[in-house]
Every structure is written in C-alpha cells, then in structure tokens.
C-alpha cells in the first residue's frame, strides 16, 4: 500500500547556482547517500512533500484494512480467518510506523487524520474497489500487495531516515502478505470449476486497478524529477509498472489464469512484456471521489474517528488524573 500522485512542493529542480548554501550542502548529503534525520536542516519543500507522501502512505495502510476486513467473519476456514486477521493487523501496524515517521517532520497524528477526513489528503485509489468474493482477498494479497512491494522495496533506500527505517520493517512483513494471497488464489484456481471461475473473475477486476496503483506516466514530470533528486522517489511510475507486469504474468500463467489484456505479449527485443494501459479516465474519476467505494470508505473512517472520541478523551483524562494524584502524593 503506498502513495500515488503526490504533488511535489516547489516548482522544479534547482540548478546548483540557484541553490542557497544550505540547499547545496543538503543536496550533497543526499547525493552521498547520507540519510537526513529529523533534527537536520532540510528545505521546506522537502519537508512538505514528505509529509504528503508519508501521510498518504499511512492513510492507505489504514483505509486498506477495510476491503479485507470485509471478509474476516466470512473466511472459509479457521486457518484462513486467522491468517487474514493477522494480515489486517499488520496493515494497522504499518499505518502506525508511517504516521510516526510523518510526525518526526512536525505534523501531529490528529492533524493527519483530520486532513484525511476532510478530503485534503488522499489514500491509494485501489481501496475504492470492492472485495466481492473470497477470491478477491487472494487477488488483493497477490496483486495489490505485490504492486505495493514493487514501490516499497526501493523506498527502503529513501533519503529520509525515519521513512527508510519504517519501509525496511514494512517490507519484511509484506512478503507474508503477498504469499498468503497467492496461496489463497492458487487454492481457488486449483479447486472446483466454480472456484476457478471466481479466481479468474478476481484477476479480471483487480488487474487494471493494480496497474493504476503506480499512477499515470511521470517520465516528463518536473515534480517527479525533484522528488527523484531528493531520493524520496526512486523509480518512475512506468518503470515500476513494467516491473510489476513482468513479475506477475508468469505467476498468472502458473495458475492457469488469463490476464485480461488481449494485447499482452512478450517483447523479445525489449526483454519485457508489452501491455495495455489502464483506463486513466477511470483513475482520475476514482481519485476525485467517484469510485465504487469512496463514500463507504470515508464514512467508515469518519465513524471510527467519531465513535472513538470518548475512548481517546476518557483514557487521557484518566492518565491525567493518575499523574495528578501521584504528584500530590509525592508533594
């Protein structure tokens, strides 16, 4: 799960002559692969862009629990239920690692949450698609987590220390997510004809939304160029999408499933698969709030925030009361 369509703060990459002395030193440290830590000087635009990126990434982890949580009570076996529960629990943990990394940049957890709930901040477009059948849970682990891993593995080398360390932890746990998904959809694909059909249907519906996770082509984007110069983005969206397709097609073939793209074919010359782009009109429409589940997702998040208020307030009041009593006893 990760960020997409992050608007980089600032206008374009500055030349060395245009940089201030501080900015030059900062860029030199990044070019030397040194990590930037919370107390180090950093350009305001670097800080602002990272807050957007890490924040959106964190929101995606949290909202990403919803489509999978949808199936916990209906998992077909106790073992599959325990696995799904563990996976959704991991997503919550990933959200927490990332919110904490964002907080080191000077924004609070509550501000981030409020920006999500007001619609100012986004989460990945993929979570606005529904999980209609049990095979969809397999497709989410295999394809959605597979796409997320493509992006997250290079981000382990990102220039911001707390983000990089969060990514390292997350990647370690993410492998379980993808493997359980593949294992699940494989059980469907190797099952009865009805189960097999269900697996194919899940692939049909999740293929293009998974390709959209990388965002539209950004090879000509000045914003992406700045983010890449800062090493908070490591590869272009097209590079990652190609890598994902190259990795995933043989996995689908092994299952005997068909990728829903008649133009998909191996290009010997390029050493890569040629494939069709997703419908970018649909993507922008989903981002704007018109996907199949946008309203449901935001309603669920707002409800959780509102319903949890008395618990947050109550526990804090209790802690303050205990601290006051302790101070009074010591005096």
């Amino acid at each position: 799960m990760y960020a997409q369509m992050i608007k980089t703060a600032g206008t374009s990459v500055k030349s060395r002559e245009e940089m201030t002395e501080d900015e030059r030193k900062f860029q030199d440290r990044i070019d030397a692969d040194e990590k930037i830590e919370p107390k180090d000087w950093m350009p305001d635009d670097y800080r602002a862009t990272l807050i957007r990126q890490i924040g959106q990434h964190a929101h995606s982890e949290i909202v990403g629990q919803l489509p999978e949580g949808n199936w916990i009570t209906r998992a077909p076996t106790l073992q599959r239920k325990a696995i799904l529960l563990a996976k959704v629990q991991d997503e919550a943990g990933h959200g927490l690692y990332l919110y904490c990394a964002a907080e080191t940049l000077g924004i609070s957890r509550d501000e981030l949450t409020e920006d999500l709930l007001s619609g100012k901040m986004k989460y990945s477009s993929i979570f606005n698609y529904p999980t209609l059948t049990w095979a969809d849970i397999g497709a989410v682990g295999w394809l959605v987590d597979g796409a997320a891993i493509m992006n997250q593995v290079p981000l382990q080398r990102t220039s911001y220390g707390p983000y990089s360390r969060a990514m390292i932890r997350i990647c370690k746990e993410e492998s379980f997510h993808q493997r359980q998904g593949y294992d699940l959809i494989r059980a469907c694909a190797e099952g009865t004809p009805a189960q097999r059909k269900m697996a194919q249907d899940a692939l049909n519906r999740f293929w293009y939304p998974s390709l959209m996770m990388f965002g539209p082509s950004d090879k000509d984007s000045v914003h992406s160029a700045q983010s890449m110069a800062w090493k908070i983005k490591i590869n272009t969206n097209d590079e990652l999408r190609q890598k994902f397709v190259d990795q995933t097609v043989p996995q689908a073939e092994y299952l005997g499933l068909t990728v829903p793209d008649p133009d998909l074919k191996w290009n010997e010359e390029r050493g890569h698969y040629d494939f069709s782009q997703p419908d970018w009109k649909e993507f922008f429409n989903v981002i704007k709030g018109n996907g199949p589940c946008n309203v449901d997702r935001m309603t669920a998040r707002r409800k959780a925030w509102d319903d949890g208020k008395w618990v947050r307030d109550g526990l804090l009041a209790h802690a303050r009361k205990k601290a006051a009593a302790k101070a009074a006893a010591a005096a």
Binding site: D33, E34, K35, E37, Q79, A82, I83, A86, D90, G146, G161, S164, R165, S175, F176, Q178, R179, Q180, Y182, D183, Q247, P250, Q251, Y254
Partner: protein, 94 residues
C-alpha cells in the same frame, strides 16, 4: 537529600541511516553534561554519528515475569511468517 548525580541511558546511532541503539549508561548532573559524557565514554573510537540520552528513571520497561503472557502467543502464529506458504519455484521470488 542525597547529592548523587542521576543515571542516564545512552543510545548511539552507529552510522547514517541506522536506528539509535542502547550502548550503556552513565552518571551526569544534567542532560547537557550527559551528552558530553556520552561522547567521551562511548564514542572515543568514532562509534557514532548521533547520541540520545534518557534519564534512566524515565525508561519504562516490561517486567521479566511477564515474558510468558507477552510473547508466547506469537509462537503459535506460524502463519505470520512468509515461509509458512508453499510457493512454487516456477513463479519467481515472492
């Protein structure tokens, strides 16, 4: 009132990009002196690029006797590990 300097726990970032790790403790009258002492005691051979000090009384630790209830539940959850799943070699690394 005892005139003993408080105890500080010292954490050092060994190199760029790594987390701070606990390396030991020392006594110092205040935070500023604790950093200076930590620099002298723990980084004489270039062991670090950053130091954190925390007064030992502010460290809250789990109780050793809680080891069972805290950690045993995760021992039976083998499915949290990627190796639990049998992935065919033909499909590549996953």
């Amino acid at each position: 009132m005892k005139n003993e300097w408080p105890l500080w726990e010292v954490f050092i970032r060994g190199q760029h990009g790594m987390s701070h790790r606990h390396v030991g403790s020392l006594h110092a009258p205040d935070a500023e002196m604790a950093i200076k002492n930590a620099r002298d005691v723990y980084t004489r051979r270039n062991e670090g690029v950053s130091i954190w000090v925390v007064e030992a009384k502010n460290v809250v630790a789990s109780s050793p006797s809680d080891k069972g209830p805290l950690y045993e539940p995760s021992q039976s959850k083998v499915y949290r590990h990627p190796t639990f799943y049998d992935i065919p070699d033909d499909v590549g690394a996953m």
